[in-house]
Symmetry: D2
């Protein structure tokens, strides 16, 4: 502890995870992460969804090291490189074409918030409108454009200036009164005396990770997509946390059968935990002027190399998709059993994206702390940290998955006792 | 050409450099970058300042590959890792302490724009004020918070919403009428009837790279710093492009002897072209709540590894600093000779950060294109792309430096002929 | 017609009523208004609610002429005058004290929009918050602060800049889906992850005149008031059109038994059609600095003189209140009979504030035009001018009231035929 | 004193003048105002410029009383009335045509702030741009749109929300450093990298009354007008305080020979202290939709009656103009003599619009208080109330003018002693 405190005093108070898990971590592979004191943790946090294929996946690591060894280009802004070209072709062949998605690819600055900033700019430019519809409990990033559509009060308070041009609507299942956000939106748009002008876009997560693992139903998403289409509003899916296979399919919106106008990807798109982000949009929306949105690291080639390897390895067939669904059922069964034991504890999830919500304040944090003591990393989410969020690797073995769930279950039992 | 066009149709129209330099680049080391067709270019563009130590610097590459090979942690959000700890200690020992800077370090999302967003949020939180002073011709990034302080009209037009809470002031030397921005600022702040409320902060680049290589004089910076101190306004130096040795010292503001309250670093801080960004601030300004500003990639450990290696290799003594100054004089001498041949062509620079401005519209772009034909990559900057900007590696040999300058000189001669 | 066109070409295209009623009006008394060509109209428009006591009411006219004849002070900004002092005492004695309202009185610029601007400023100052809740179909004025809380799309489009800091909520009965605005508001405020910050105030009309004569139920108002009290949000009632006896009691909110924190009055407060406006607020909210909100005409003494006379004449007892209620029943009976004859035609109202809504677009305007041909002035309201709005004088005789209703009924019959 | 305190407790703390002059005023005529205790004051305040023709001018009072007696229409929104028609024809014949001004007339809500709100909306609509240039020390009103262009810090602080879309530029003579606002504006507009987008309009007072009687030189105004014309920016002159003869000509901008695109009038336009306001604009700028800007009291006929009488009485020839200039010289001579006696006391003015500035804080208020004791009402202005502002009636006799000046001179002598 003294060791970490000694270093920590050099770093800003803004840090979070080094407080929950006060180790100095050293190396990691697959589902396990090692600390300097010899501790080993099973990781159900997985970089908040940035490590869907596990730590230091050897199938991605090899081409990465080969590339670096051969002096492959590392940094190139938006010059065309072999690594980028390979990625583009693989993404076209393995992701877009099979799903009949005629999207152009924009390489934004390599962070989710930047992909969202680009999406909102483009939506406003295409439509000439300013308002963007965003949902309660949403999280889209903390740079000012993305923060304006983010719902969390603490994050918003950090802005220091008003966050405008956003129409906030209840998400599927939000609130105690069962107000339908889509009914509301429909009424507000229909009536010229509603006080609301026609929005440029709707931005939505199909599963709200930071907001507490809230899940939009397929019918809800379909109705939302139909309303956007009807009123000529662009539908932006922020698939930064839920995409890249987290819910089963490559995109989280595939199950609902909807076609977003714009999609944001980041977190696990590089596959190896390297910074990378994409904004995808229908070809006819590509009204950008050259350089109108830029950024120094918008072409980070090592990430392209691992991203290409990840696509080729895991998205050439349906195997991973099916395994994620199967492992999701395993999680569901386990959590159903655990939660049935305690009132005020409920679970929900899709694929390998799960949350356990505790009605009593403070419990989720205590469960997370107890799990950490037993060698499992799981984080909390939700506006009051009331949900334990499970984000295991998509490649996790059933044995490790069960091991982690058992630790979690034990932590819940201990906390609730 | 067919090859790049074929791939380019998958990528958004927002791309820029792949248009100026329509190659597919493959590998790079030191000062040279290779294309798929066998062409080799001398690189005076260097990732727009992100590659101050050259491409694939072997002294950084070795520890990076070692780290990856040993399954060192890649992605860890803001958990403490060995790689981060090493970086923090080295940064403290080699950068901050020798310069008597008692700064805390915030690891923001790994892009310059994110470091700026964090700086502005913090300044507004500390002061409880909203307005930020920004200068004509400034560039600080394109996410909405950073874009608001950026001056370029095309970039700003991309916002799609008003960009507020900024007081725009002429930079040192701006404009045809010689209006003093600092006189103006002083008058506006002094007078309670000026219509301007007390700003939270001033954000300034000591050299405006994107704005056309405009250079703030030491006295101007000193007066600005004194005014900030007097009026209790926070001084933010955006050292993203000018820092990390580009002007000689590690920080570009060292020569002026000023002490900023907040400093933004990115681009060359990782040393290897990997995404990384820091926001530094005086210890007593660290009023962040945990997680108040966050981001998935705010702890990219491979970048910490190369950053640490770069600090240890190049900033343990004064050698690099002196070499940059010496090579800067070489550039200055060469450009003085070239520019003296043509009316309407002027040059200016500090360290290895130089610009050649052409009064006649279009000439700078033509010079850049001509240099490319002759095997040199140099970009243009300024609101009308009227300046050829030189950003060679700080480690470039005098021979290569002269070679590049000769190509540039030839390109100018050909263009002006 | 030539005459009015000749003059009209000097006046801006922004004019409205001179288009609907292309006469040159000359004089008016009681319920009738005369035109230059000798036409006489029964007036159910009554200055859009600014002439509740009829045109040129002799009981107000006499003291006004006496005052002007005696060189009583006309203009005095916010100096104390005898006329103002008399008004304040009468308002205290006849309006506030009997209703147990401990309000301070602010004399704002003499327009409704200015009273609203003052109310919103004060609410924001008292609470230190920015957001104001406003309802669909609301109208509060067209200066930028009031326009931001106004709902009408055409009016808002006139702003030319974004209208921010407002949370829009469905009014009682709004929309096709029956979304409860108060349920929504409750959910949004309760959840710290809703994306909505705690509002400074709610601004509401008990009857939305411009919005189409929409009526908030007493229970709805009570729940709204209770929510405001619970969450420490200021409740602002804009009683500009519905106050001064229009719904029976002096204030329109008396029936619901609620106690607003702030009340805006204008239109009929002077009683004689002279410009005057008040913002009332609970004594403890009076945190204004001297002159923090000002305006040249905030003390128009002729208006104080007629306002005092109106209070003394009509608000010393319950007679007018009862008469308004009784005459309202007469209107209700008549409209019930008329509307029962036609599908798609409904009526609603309180006191002498009534609307007849026509489902078919354009009908309400045609009814208004037909009534004008037959000698009755009635205006339309609602976002698509779909409602004929009746605002007869509160003093109208039953005979004239019936006469006007008969003309309206005939106009409806003719239009629907 | 007890009497006023007793009433004052009913009125908001926002009141100002009733504090400086704690009388209850009763009647007024010509240059004198009477209090309930029998005191009589010579009035050099004159409704802050709303009473240019004195109190209760009998030549305006007679037609007003006749009109009211005959039941002339008082309130009519924007219906056409005989009184409005008469005013429009007189304004056309006596003001616009002789000055070759082809303006349309908009009757806004009857306050200066509303005329400014309309002007800014129209300028933004015509140009499709958002930014308006406003000057240091300006005052244009306190509703949010007008307040955004107002400079005074206390007034702006009352907004409670950010005041945006304004570019603030130094007024002629502003500041200690002599920065030229017009040089600055020219540089900012010329350079596409300045960070400033092309403004919709410039709003300017030729004399800044509230800002401390600052006077724009004719050449400065001419250069400003030329710049607006060159860059296609609309020039709005706020002539609310300086117009209606206060500086000599009917419009204050006549002397400079400039042609504004939009002009705001209020204060003395009714001539009798009754609320009235106009926005004038070049015929081709009249792009308003019907009702796009409205307001209940935009047609206050008693004000039209006195306004018409004032135009016919005082603006049919050049007599008043010449008298104002002559009396202005008398004021100038007197103040020159007074100010020469004291260092740190300077005066400036045009026509009958004068200010005496005291360098030492608090002195101006003390002079104003001393003058009040001696029977003269004069107010202070400027951001720190550092200027005594003289606004005598334009019709004042030389004897009364001298009497008032003598009281003022005595108050200065006493205060400086």
């Amino acid at each position: 502890m003294t060791v970490i405190d000694d270093v920590a005093c050099l770093e800003s108070e803004v840090r979070v995870y080094s407080r929950s898990w006060p180790d100095i971590f050293t190396r990691a592979s697959g589902d396990r992460i090692h600390a300097a004191d010899g501790s080993v943790y099973l990781d159900f946090f997985m970089g908040a969804g940035a490590l869907n294929y596990g730590h230091a996946n050897p199938l991605l690591k090899a081409p990465l090291i080969d590339y670096l060894t051969a002096d492959g280009i590392v940094h190139s802004l938006d010059m065309m490189t072999e690594a980028k070209s390979d990625f583009l072709r693989s993404f076209q062949e393995l992701v877009l074409r099979p799903r009949h998605l005629d999207y152009k690819v924009q390489f934004t600055g390599p962070t989710g918030t930047n992909a969202v900033e680009a999406a909102l700019k483009l939506a406003r430019k295409v439509t000439g409108r300013e308002t963007v519809v965003a949902f309660t409990r949403s999280f889209h990033g903390v740079s000012l454009g993305a923060l304006a559509v983010t719902a969390n009060a603490d994050k918003r308070a950090g802005a220091g200036v008003p966050l405008d041009h956003v129409l906030r609507i209840p998400y599927d299942g939000f609130g105690q009164h069962g107000v339908s956000g889509l009914d509301l939106l429909d009424d507000l748009i229909r009536d010229t005396g509603s006080g609301i002008s026609l929005p440029a876009a709707v931005i939505v997560e199909t599963v709200q990770g930071e907001g507490g693992v809230n899940i939009a139903g397929a019918e809800w998403l379909q109705r939302l997509a139909a309303m956007c289409s009807k009123w000529d509003i662009l539908l932006v899916v922020d698939d930064i946390q839920a995409g890249c296979g987290r819910t089963g399919g490559f995109f989280s919106f595939e199950d609902a059968g909807i076609l977003p106008d714009i999609v944001c990807l980041s977190k696990s798109i590089s596959g190896y935990g390297l910074p990378m982000a994409l904004t995808l949009f229908r070809r006819e929306l590509d009204v950008w002027n050259p350089g109108e949105h830029n950024g120094t690291f918008r072409g980070s080639n090592p990430a392209f190399v691992t991203a290409t390897a990840a696509l080729r390895t895991y998205w050439s067939d349906e195997v991973l998709h099916k395994e994620v669904v199967a492992k999701g059922e395993l999680v569901s069964d386990y959590l159903t059993a655990v939660c049935s034991r305690y009132p005020g504890v409920v679970h929900r999830g899709r694929g390998l994206f799960w949350g356990v919500e505790f009605a009593e304040p403070g419990l989720a944090r205590r469960v997370s702390a107890a799990a950490y003591e037993d060698g499992l990393l799981v984080e909390t989410s939700g506006p009051d940290d009331e949900v334990v969020k499970l984000l295991p690797s998509l490649l996790i073995s059933p044995a490790d998955l069960r091991a982690g769930l058992r630790i979690l279950g034990g932590a819940i039992d201990r906390t609730m006792a």
